[in-house]
Symmetry: C4
Subunit: 206 residues, 4 copies
Amino acid sequence: MSELISKWKELADIKDELAARDWFMGTSGNLSIKAGSDPLQFLVTASGKDKRKRTSEDFLLVDGDGVPVGETRLKPSAETLLHCAVYGKTQAGCSLHVHTVANNVISELYGDKGVVEFQGQELIKAFDTWEEDALLSIPIIYNHADIPKLADTFAEHISADKGAVLIRNHGITVWGRSGFEAKKLLEACEFLFQYKITLLQTKPFL
Amino acid sequence: MSELISKWKELADIKDELAARDWFMGTSGNLSIKAGSDPLQFLVTASGKDKRKRTSEDFLLVDGDGVPVGETRLKPSAETLLHCAVYGKTQAGCSLHVHTVANNVISELYGDKGVVEFQGQELIKAFDTWEEDALLSIPIIYNHADIPKLADTFAEHISADKGAVLIRNHGITVWGRSGFEAKKLLEACEFLFQYKITLLQTKPFL
Amino acid sequence: MSELISKWKELADIKDELAARDWFMGTSGNLSIKAGSDPLQFLVTASGKDKRKRTSEDFLLVDGDGVPVGETRLKPSAETLLHCAVYGKTQAGCSLHVHTVANNVISELYGDKGVVEFQGQELIKAFDTWEEDALLSIPIIYNHADIPKLADTFAEHISADKGAVLIRNHGITVWGRSGFEAKKLLEACEFLFQYKITLLQTKPFL
Amino acid sequence: MSELISKWKELADIKDELAARDWFMGTSGNLSIKAGSDPLQFLVTASGKDKRKRTSEDFLLVDGDGVPVGETRLKPSAETLLHCAVYGKTQAGCSLHVHTVANNVISELYGDKGVVEFQGQELIKAFDTWEEDALLSIPIIYNHADIPKLADTFAEHISADKGAVLIRNHGITVWGRSGFEAKKLLEACEFLFQYKITLLQTKPFL
């Protein structure tokens, strides 16, 4: 049980940090952290909560299908199936989905292309790519209103224990082996998106 | 009375949160929360206060016409009539008016058109529109210096228990069934405005 | 003496608030508050301090010529003469000088014209101009490296108990009858500058 | 020993301040402070830590070659050699390396030119250049993935006890005689970079 409490606290700390950056505007976003492998269980944000507050009802435990474990009046986030896809296909320990202005704008700018790429940026090393000419590709998928369909499309792009996928005009989902790694990747992506937007806006006028 | 204290605290918490984002620049903005229906009474921000401070004189109770209930040396916000319009025409529980750079710029960019529209953005679901091709329309009204005239023009656009109206170069007013919902809509609008501005600034250079 | 302590606290609170917004980057900026009229004395920021910290050496008392009152090892801010000009020519109670990216950019964009103007913006009412077509003009002066010369040029634009002057690529100075009013005007100017910059960057692409 | 504790606290305070501005996105950045001259020793950030947290394992003591002093399970930052170069060639007391969107964008915009220049900006006085027409030049070097090679290239641009060097798409390193001065220069550079970017984005549309 103390393992569960420790995971709860880890996720609550991440939530506080992202909330302080205003990355849950309009009650958007949802987060999860793996709590056990056999059977697969994870903590996920409850639906309809104010993520800037820290309460005992912020998360609930669900199984690998996203069904609540035990009696609860809480409802898991409507997008829990995307977290199921992450834990079902990889050894990831944490999955974070947030909306920022920059990640939404990038998802629209490069949405038709289906991918946004970064090269020659120091920050891409957050993804453990250390070669001088390494290329970071982040896929951009269509934002199906139907969540199971969205989760299926999303799952096609999950192939490693860490990664990132943009949903067009619907934020980003990143996952990593730990909460620390997932947060690191989320920050690196946000930095790269803001960088690309600012460079696009400035370069023509140099 | 404890209901009134609870409503006061709810509005004070919202004020703190918006103040932390610097959404009351130059002492702009005003907020209200419904305190009773029969007769209609609501708490509204007192005029001329520093909204970054939390004091016992931040709000005062007024009736459906915006007249203070009981003796007080406090003056209700000069724009209290707009809050009267919200509570007089709907079952809303909270109304928030704030200036941000993004909402002022959007109100000017689309002011001649009289409306700004959003489609295909996940965040518009904050307004409970769930269809994949849903359209969110936010009206933009003329900023009459005469407050009763401004309130009348504003009232023409109030038709549901939640909504949002931009006043040209004079911020936004949003309202919802609760303080939580009003804040959610305010954040969703701000996100959408920042998104549209950033996209406009970037897309031509892709 | 308690009056002096009260003024000290008022200025320290303003300093904390502006520091939290990062409006003293690179140790720039200086602040003052009037402590007495007969003879004229005011508290002004000491030179070379970290304005994000709150200490007993943040301010020192100076006379109408900017000369320290009594023994002190503190040096008044190098730009104290500009504050002397404000208190010497008006009944103002507080004067604030800060650098922001927006105020520096506006001062450069409109520097050749010598003035930046705002009309039709609700926020200009912070300057007590209530007519629907009121015009707010903020002069922009040349940034003389010689401080007495800069102070003389600045003084030519001081004609009321509240006002604002931009120094080209050298931030803004605002003053008001009280600390509260000076802060209100500073915030209103910053809002208007950010608004104008964002509108300029966006409007051509609508 | 108390000197070492005092230096530790000074660097931890600087780290807190920069972390609050989100200048360590994706666990980027590294900081150091000189702890002794004979022999040369300095505290440097340990590798792989969350810089938003304050712990007893945030820094470790290394010698002039960047080798840990005494037994420790901590690893010095991968870029410690750049700090060695600063202390080896100057009397600097503190060296700070951070990524911001603005400093990365400027490093790319002016990367081919190898230098970015500022003139006529008040903020360049942070570098103790007081003439009215003073010119501030910040070199931009190639981002070699090989750290010893990067450190060598970096060292060619170190010639005074304070300074700043941009690494293309890899942030900025500034150093100064004290932690206070290094932080002042870092802030001044960030301000100047944001100013130049905003001016470039706005001026063509005036």
